[in-house]
Symmetry: C2
Subunit: 193 residues, 2 copies
């Protein structure tokens, strides 16, 4: 049903001509928007993640911790970092363990409450962030700038805002019922290789 031709120049994900027959009530256009939004984001995230991992051996989550603490401009409690990254405190402990082993963060005692900690990043981490963030932002400028004019970029942002709003609203709604499916007559689809 969802099909993307094998060529490397990566065209859009398309659904088949029979899509709306196979899925009564579905919208081929909406599904293609959905699939291609996800695909575009995967490609973009992949660029950032690959760069971060190749150059600095940082996982996406580890980068997130450094970016949050560095962005705050001051040490933060583990719980605060965990909330911003939307992970549990148990997961945060192990992320911080790894970063501390590598000398990128320090656990400092909290001056006011001896149950708490303050997480600070080291000079090494600051050096990484100072090199990494400019190159990520340069990549963002290059890729988006190569694809879209400023006015297209503004229009894209407007659409993305509406999609984000609709998706956020859908989170609290029950999943919709599908209207069933008509399996296509598989005459001789897609030879096995």
């Amino acid at each position: 049903m969802i099909d993307s031709p094998a060529g490397s120049p990566a065209p859009l994900v398309r659904v088949g001509d029979d899509f709306e027959d196979e899925y009564p009530g579905a919208s081929a256009l909406a599904t293609e928007c959905y699939a291609n939004l996800v695909r575009a984001a995967d490609l973009l995230v992949g660029l950032h993640n690959r760069h971060t991992s190749d150059r600095y051996q940082l996982s996406p989550s580890a980068r997130g911790v450094l970016a949050v603490v560095e962005g705050a401009g001051q040490p933060l409690e583990p719980t605060v970092i965990a909330e911003r990254l939307m992970v549990t405190t148990g997961s945060m402990t192990s992320l911080l363990d790894n970063l501390e082993k590598r000398g990128l963060v320090r656990r400092l005692p909290h001056p006011d409450d001896r149950r708490k900690l303050l997480i600070d990043i080291t000079a090494d981490a600051r050096a990484i962030v100072d090199e990494l963030l400019p190159s990520l932002h340069a990549r963002e400028r290059d890729v988006i700038g190569a694809a879209l004019t400023p006015s297209e970029q503004r229009a894209l942002l407007v659409s993305l805002a509406k999609v984000q709003r609709a998706a956020a609203d859908a989170r609290s709604a029950p999943a919709p019922e599908g209207a069933g499916r008509r399996r296509p007559p598989r005459l001789e689809a897609d030879p096995p290789e």
Copy 2:
């Protein structure tokens, strides 16, 4: 630097006013497109993944295996499935182990080559896919349809095609040099709690 207000109605991710001063050469507009494309996709993927996991206890990768085999309309070799999902054959073995344990796929001997297998999905899996895909496509229709008019959807697709192309081109290009960074004077940013 990247900041998204805490309210639940989820507005756009924005960069600060000082962004282009802090990162010389960067484009605030491009970075916002990048960040919000990723955020919108995360929200959309999250809806699908949550539904798939809650209702059918299927991980995204497991769902991918079923969708690929079901979509092919016939049994496929593990290597072919692995290529389509972009995972190694070692990873595919463990995905298939899990699915086979749950009675959702079968490993059949390949008639022509005794090194190979053919992976088929069971009636149980077909029942899941027949229920799952229509509800995912209904969600796509509802969310995208609530956000954008058909004409906006077509415009979005055009932009996404260009972004995908640029991102695919960037994959084989070297990472751009960042033009350095000017740290903002952290007077009293972001109180710790």
